[in-house]
Symmetry: C2
């Protein structure tokens, strides 16, 4: 079941078998056929480990994402799916690594033990030791998201600042004056998660620009937290008429909280934010939102990584995406009065 066995049965040397299969040197048609026949008969496939050892490439990329802790969001799922699929198109496998930081055992395995040719990082923080570490090593990697020091590195990101701002402008245009912001969980914000920070920034600045009265909240990644968050919002300022959220997983809870409080969406209260479309469409009324193009981002990340692997000395490339807001049904003109 190894190359030597094939060589023996085909009556040639191991190197000839190797060349016949790889095509890196010409082999006569006769022997090639003979070899191919033996290979087919035995169902031989070269060992990935041996090949990886010999030519230094594993044909595997690592997908690094933070440990679940409690649970993953839908967006992460979409990334994972699209990365796996895109990688398969290049004949690459994907190795999952649940690493939050640089010093993770899992992260060390990926890099130190050279299990992968390159890596794609998810859930980037503004100051991200993983990114720094990889950059210092000049290890081929692409981030889905960007750190505070983005120059000279490879990434595909979403312009959360612009997207959150767009949401604010959309609401302001509709006449809303008191708007809340529902962010990712506080621990993620404190940890410096890119989306949480830039989204918050974009929201705050745009709101200031438009002279809105705002409050910002952090919210756990689950329905119960979303519901609780809405309660807090309406308690803190009952005159609030709209909210912007980055928190996909809390969305159902936000809606529930509003329903419980007797606020009809979009008549009494508008909701918008930055959410993948498949999740925006599961709630009723469907969420008007900047759709996170998770599939495209995953695919592009893989493309960039492949490019980087092909020519390690090429200039860094990146994509900054700014998807438009999809108008669905969760926002409307601000009502005339305050709370019902």
């Amino acid at each position: 079941m190894n190359i030597g066995e094939i060589a023996r049965r085909a009556g040639v040397s191991r190197s000839t078998v190797s060349y016949a299969l790889s095509g890196k040197r010409p082999v006569s048609e006769d022997t090639r056929r003979k070899i191919q026949q033996v290979v087919d008969e035995l169902g031989y496939r070269p060992s990935a480990s041996a090949r990886a050892l010999a030519n230094g490439r594993t044909s595997t990329i690592g997908l690094v994402f933070p440990p679940a802790g409690n649970h993953y969001t839908g967006m992460q799922l979409d990334f994972i799916g699209s990365v796996v699929e895109a990688a398969a198109a290049y004949d690459y496998d994907v190795l999952l690594s649940p690493s939050g930081v640089d010093s993770d055992r899992s992260f060390q395995r990926l890099l130190g033990e050279r299990r992968v040719d390159g890596a794609i990082l998810m859930e980037i923080r503004l100051e991200d030791d993983r990114v720094d570490h990889l950059a210092a090593l000049d290890f081929p990697s692409v981030a889905i998201g960007r750190t505070a020091h983005q120059e000279g590195s490879w990434w595909v990101g979403l312009d959360h600042t612009a997207l959150a701002a767009a949401c604010v402008h959309h609401l302001a245009d509709l006449g809303h004056r008191r708007v809340a912001f529902v962010n990712r969980p506080e621990q993620l914000l404190r940890a410096g998660y890119e989306s949480a920070h830039r989204g918050l920034d974009g929201f705050t600045k745009a709101a200031a620009e438009r002279g809105l009265t705002v409050r910002t909240y952090c919210c756990g990644d689950d329905a119960a937290s979303g519901q609780a968050c809405v309660e807090r919002i309406l308690h803190d300022d009952p005159a609030t008429t709209a909210l912007v959220t980055l928190n996909e997983a809390a969305l159902g809870g936000l809606y529930r909280g509003l329903a419980v409080a007797g606020r009809h969406v979009p008549r009494d209260f508008s909701v918008t934010g930055v959410v993948a479309s498949r999740w925006a469409e599961t709630v009723t009324p469907q969420l008007t939102a900047a759709d996170v193009p998770a599939e495209e981002m995953g695919r592009r990340a893989v493309e960039l990584l492949m490019e980087r692997l092909d020519q390690p000395d090429g200039p860094p490339r990146h994509h900054l995406l700014v998807p438009p807001i999809s108008l669905r049904a969760s926002t409307g003109p601000a009502g005339t009065g305050t709370a019902p």
Copy 2:
């Protein structure tokens, strides 16, 4: 950066370094310290490929799931997450393989090229060539789900038959007489997906037992399909007062369809089914459902696989889970009349 370099710097032979690190033979305290020091200085970690080649184990397991096609469901996400996490606890990495069938390139890579020590299969079909193939090869694997021929194999499954039946009994006890069943997409049913078939069976038999009038539907894995499905249900039999679903991704759409039709849940219409709790809790009212213990299933699958890897000749083991129905808020007594 390889073991020879370490040996040179520590002034010992390569084998000594190997033994010092693995502890498979005694090494004097002095040299061990010296070696460790060099290793720490250089940050040396042995190459995974070389090690895999030498000792025949990759410390990687494959997670085989069908290609996304369009998109993944939340349950799959939960499985992936829990498998990765459980595997990490055993110092195993997880390689993702989007394979529907046996003959997939990706599947062949996993097995033929010996990239993994074992595999966990998701989305099992009643007749599953992947399972048969692995069984024929005696390749260590554990299925999340079970085929029609489950004896003598390793799996962790959910008793969809019993769960769907429990849902029916729950509804029947509440007085519902006309109940619809919302299954996974038709193509999956036709392909022989286990959950779709057994769930349908359990539903049908229990309904017959209770003398209910039923209709069964297939429904795409997205909100729009769910909404359309409810329209069809109410069109086909407006007197329907309840539904049971296995289709997590359509849930939001089902609710929307009911809202659009003016049916209030649970006053006019009851909804229940088999759904992971985190999704059951995002809809309003929260879904009364048999909670799919995805986290536990993933973890147990890994545990079984580890066991099987440890003692390849042990007797096959499995777990059949039958989680209880969690009473939430989406079911209630059948109304007195028919449609509003």
